[in-house]
């Protein structure tokens, strides 16, 4: 099986529940943030992004919240489904003059039917 995801914090929810996945970022100068979803055996898939001049952005069933004061990012998934089971991680763009992303280590979301 896949070894990516071992040692990760895990969030277990029931199908239909709302899920909240948190991420603390490191650089107060970061100006762009992305949430990725990675299913077992696959590459990371873009979910939603947000710029630092916003504090909330909504997509389909997902919402990203940004709190720059405490350098915290969260991903909310409404009505979680078994297909949402994956590893989720955030990325911040560190403003170095090039679009270098720094990635978090991720949280595993397990959705039970």
């Amino acid at each position: 099986g896949e070894s990516v995801g071992l040692h990760l914090p895990t969030l277990s929810v029931q199908e239909g529940d709302n899920s909240i996945i948190n991420c603390a970022y490191s650089n107060s100068a970061s100006d762009y943030f992305i949430w990725y979803k990675q299913e077992s055996g696959k590459g990371p898939q873009f979910i939603i992004d947000i710029r630092s001049n916003m504090d909330k952005r909504q997509g389909q069933r997902v919402t990203v919240l940004l709190n720059k004061t405490v350098k915290h990012l969260s991903l909310q998934i409404a009505a979680t489904q078994p297909g949402d089971s994956a590893v989720y991680f955030c990325a911040e763009r560190v403003n170095t003059g090039f679009q270098k992303l720094v990635f978090g280590t991720g949280t595993r979301l397990l959705v039970s039917p």
């Binding site: 990516v4 762009y32 679009q99 270098k100």
Partner: protein, 116 residues
């Protein structure tokens, strides 16, 4: 849809072998990246390229080199594979970033490399 493909999903090599990992993107993106992903460490940037024939070291370039002869293709080379290079290798691409523009990186499916 952006498509990033990697030449192999699984690869088994022996210590000392030269290994080539190929990545191709079909969206005419200027920027391409190679990462490795290890449990508990997240994605770590090995090398990136912002134009043909241009390359820049990432955070962990030691033991690796890259080649970008064409815009759509970015190759990662392990000159002499070692067991500590056993990992998942991920390629990504992104369009040229503009002020206020999107800089999302799009990933390939990954190559799981085992070095024996």
């Amino acid at each position: 849809d952006v498509k990033v493909t990697q030449s192999s999903r699984y690869l088994v090599k022996r210590t000392g072998e030269k290994v080539f990992l190929e990545c191709v993107q079909d969206m005419d993106h200027e920027n391409m990246f190679w990462y490795r992903q290890d449990p508990g460490l997240g994605l770590r940037l090995i090398y990136f390229s912002y134009d043909v024939k241009m390359k820049e070291k990432g955070d962990i370039p030691e033991g690796y080199s890259v080649s970008r002869e064409k815009k759509e293709r970015f190759s990662l080379i392990l000159e002499s594979a070692s067991t500590n290079q056993t990992s998942m290798y991920l390629c990504a691409s992104s369009p040229q970033g503009l002020a206020g523009g999107k800089e999302t990186q799009y990933f390939g499916p990954g190559t799981r490399l085992l070095v024996l």
